[in-house]
């Protein structure tokens, strides 16, 4: 057990207990021992001056791709968890589209153990909804949950069969886990590679209409309504999706939703010049969509922020746009992007930002953390909400360099990431 940590004089921002005040935080034996006010450290405690910094519950990213097993050349659980820690995340949820697919207890257990061995951010595995993500037979949710899975998803491959989705929503209730859907009607997306509109028409790229997402959003909401199951909708990208989720919540449906940092900061215009680092699925949309997503995040329609961290090899992105793979890395830029595009313009308050990046993810996915309440796990993110820095992909801990933010100056950076009372990332240190 590491020495007690005393974080002195930071701005304690913990919406889970309505806290926003300058004070101290004491972490002992992997737990929060005391929070708020002036705390005297016990014998042997390491004291860290946090004046001018935000001290918040450890941030959690419930949507990352760590590529192991299968594509260890582009990311491993260890390199991904290291990147997470460097970005201020104390925990991540790893999507199951690995090779082989994480659709069984053995692979779930493997991913979890790799995370524990790495010792950076906590790694919670997802299990697949269907065997091999094939959309045909349910995977063994029970055994996967037993091995450490916290949710199920066929992310990247929408569950096309509505009966299978219905069954998944019912069966998942047995184990108290959310069913997580990448919303896309593939037949309507029809192989498109960016948002459908004037820019796609000009670039001669096949577009994906927002409706390809929205039709699946409403289908999932209705199936959750039918079953009473918990549906969590991945990376919403359109105004229509926000409106539909708002309707679902008004109806009392157990629906939660996430948005990626890139979808609240960039538009389809980033694709111009055939920038493959602006190619992702769902695609970057219009300024109106970005505004609606920001608003949805503010009013709580969208519960939380994620990265959809998706490392790809340089060679895979260095090619013709339509043939390049979807996705960007995000763990090491998310906090800066969210501060720059949400906090700075006053769309979210600091408390709301911490809520959407730490508290809500824990709550929605039933994970430990997301709070600095006494007795809770000592997962803490210490960040500087005013620090400006320039993104240099070459310095990423992730193996992936595929980011559209390279060279951009962002505001807001993680200074320390603490997991179970242990410092796993320290900037400049």
């Amino acid at each position: 057990m590491s020495a007690p940590l005393l974080l002195k004089g930071g701005r304690l921002v913990d919406p889970s207990q309505g806290m926003d005040a300058v004070g101290d935080l004491l972490l002992v034996d992997g737990k929060v021992s005391a929070v708020g006010g002036t705390i005297a450290g016990p014998e042997g405690a390491r004291t860290i001056d946090c004046a001018g910094l935000v001290v918040a519950p450890g941030m959690i990213d419930v949507h990352v791709h760590l590529r192991e097993p299968g594509r260890e050349d582009v990311e491993t659980v260890a390199s991904g968890a290291h990147a997470a820690a460097a970005g201020g995340f104390s925990a991540v949820c790893a999507m199951p589209n690995t090779k082989p697919v994480t659709d069984n207890q053995a692979t779930v257990g493997f991913v979890k153990r790799q995370g524990e061995a790495a010792g950076f951010a906590r790694v919670y595995p997802y299990g697949a909804i269907s065997v091999g993500q094939q959309g045909e037979m349910l995977a063994e949710f029970g055994e996967m949950v037993g091995a450490g899975a916290v949710a199920v998803s066929d992310d990247g491959k929408p569950v096309e069969n509505s009966h299978l989705m219905r069954t998944a929503l019912e069966y998942a209730q047995t184990f108290g886990i959310p069913v997580v859907e990448h919303c896309e009607v593939m037949a309507l997306a029809h192989g498109g590679s960016m948002h459908e509109g004037l820019i796609s028409a000009k670039l001669g790229l096949k577009g994906i209409p927002g409706e390809a997402e929205e039709i699946d959003v409403i289908r999932c909401i209705l199936l959750a309504k039918l079953t009473g199951g918990h549906i969590h909708l991945c990376h919403l990208s359109t105004k229509g999706s926000v409106d539909l989720v708002r309707w679902g919540k008004d109806q009392g449906v157990n629906v939660t939703a996430e948005v990626c940092s890139h979808h609240i900061s960039l538009t389809e215009a980033a694709v111009e010049g055939y920038n493959t680092n602006a190619k992702m699925n769902p695609p970057l949309r219009t300024p109106q969509d970005v505004a609606a997503l920001q608003q949805g995040l503010k009013d709580g329609t969208i519960d939380l922020l994620v990265t959809d961290h998706a490392p790809h090899h340089y060679d895979e992105k260095e090619r013709e746009f339509a043939d390049a793979p979807n996705g960007i890395v995000g763990l090491e830029t998310a906090l800066g992007v969210n501060v720059t595009w949400l906090l700075e313009p006053g769309i979210l308050t600091l408390g709301q930002l911490v809520d959407r990046m730490a508290c809500r993810p824990a709550k929605v996915f039933h994970l430990p953390g997301g709070t600095l309440a006494k007795g809770s796990i000592a997962d803490v993110t210490v960040f500087d909400a005013t620090r400006e820095w320039t993104v240099d992909p070459a310095r990423f801990k992730s193996k992936g360099r595929n980011t559209p933010y390279g060279g951009r100056t962002l505001k807001g950076r993680a200074i320390r990431t603490i997991v179970g009372g242990r410092i796993v990332h320290e900037l400049d240190g």
């Binding site: 010049g273 055939y274 090619r319 013709e320 339509a322």
Partner: protein, 319 residues
Amino acid sequence: MTMLGKDLLGLAGLSREQITGILDVAEPLKEISERTIKKVPTLRGMTVVNLFFEPSTRTRISFEFAEKRMSADTVNVATAVSSVSKGETLVDTARNLEAMRIDMVVVRHPGSGAARFLAERIESNVINAGDGTCEHPTQGLLDLLTLRDKLGSLEGRRICIVGDVLHSRVARSNIWGLQAMGAEVAVCGPRSLLPGAIREMGVQVFDRIEAAIDWAEALNVLRLQLERMEFGYIPSLREYNRVFGVTRARLERAPRDLLILHPGPMNRGVEIDSDVADGPHSVILQQVTNGVAVRMAVLYLLAGNKASLAEVAKTGGAT
């Protein structure tokens, strides 16, 4: 002198002056192809690679004639015989060619943006000979030259592009080129084959070919790719011809004679009837002839950005 950059990737973004400049250079070059000895030494010593990742007959041959009539050394690389089929990437292929010290690459590729992708990564001049559904600038230029030959100024002229605009790089190059020249542009075709954002591109839409014919001074009739039907964009070629086919009967009801252009190859009896294609107002073969001149002009102008070659061009190679 018209200044083009290093490359010709598309007509989007080119000014009226730049396009006029290219057409003006092409004009006197037409005559070279009419000579008994169809050759000038302008590009002597220059190496051009025609890098074709898609089947093409007329564009590749047109470029090859243009290059040879300017005395460039040319090499044709087609996918079937290149290392692309062995898994080499586009950029590796081009860099290997460049390592053999070439001057220009004429590239045809099924991916939109591929020509630009290449141009940003190699030092040689890149001429886009068609990239996916994005642009086919030399086709656009030869269409403009043909229209200019017949109509004089294009300012205020009404040109309608007919057919599968959604998948057509020719349509996009035409739209940008014609708009830059001050023409009014319309399209006519089934809505399933028009981009949803077509009006935002500053283009008028006709749902009826009769209305388009009534409005236009020239029709640029696009080739209907036969696989569009298989992918469900239209129900049948028969219906396409009945609703959108450019037929003599329809043209005879027009208030004026219309120029008929087609980028080829034609599906006779589908988008265009034979008696129109071969009729008195068809300029389809003049387009082909002008294609060589326009490509000579582009080669010449891009080569002109290299000091040494500009020197050669000035002296006609007599160094």
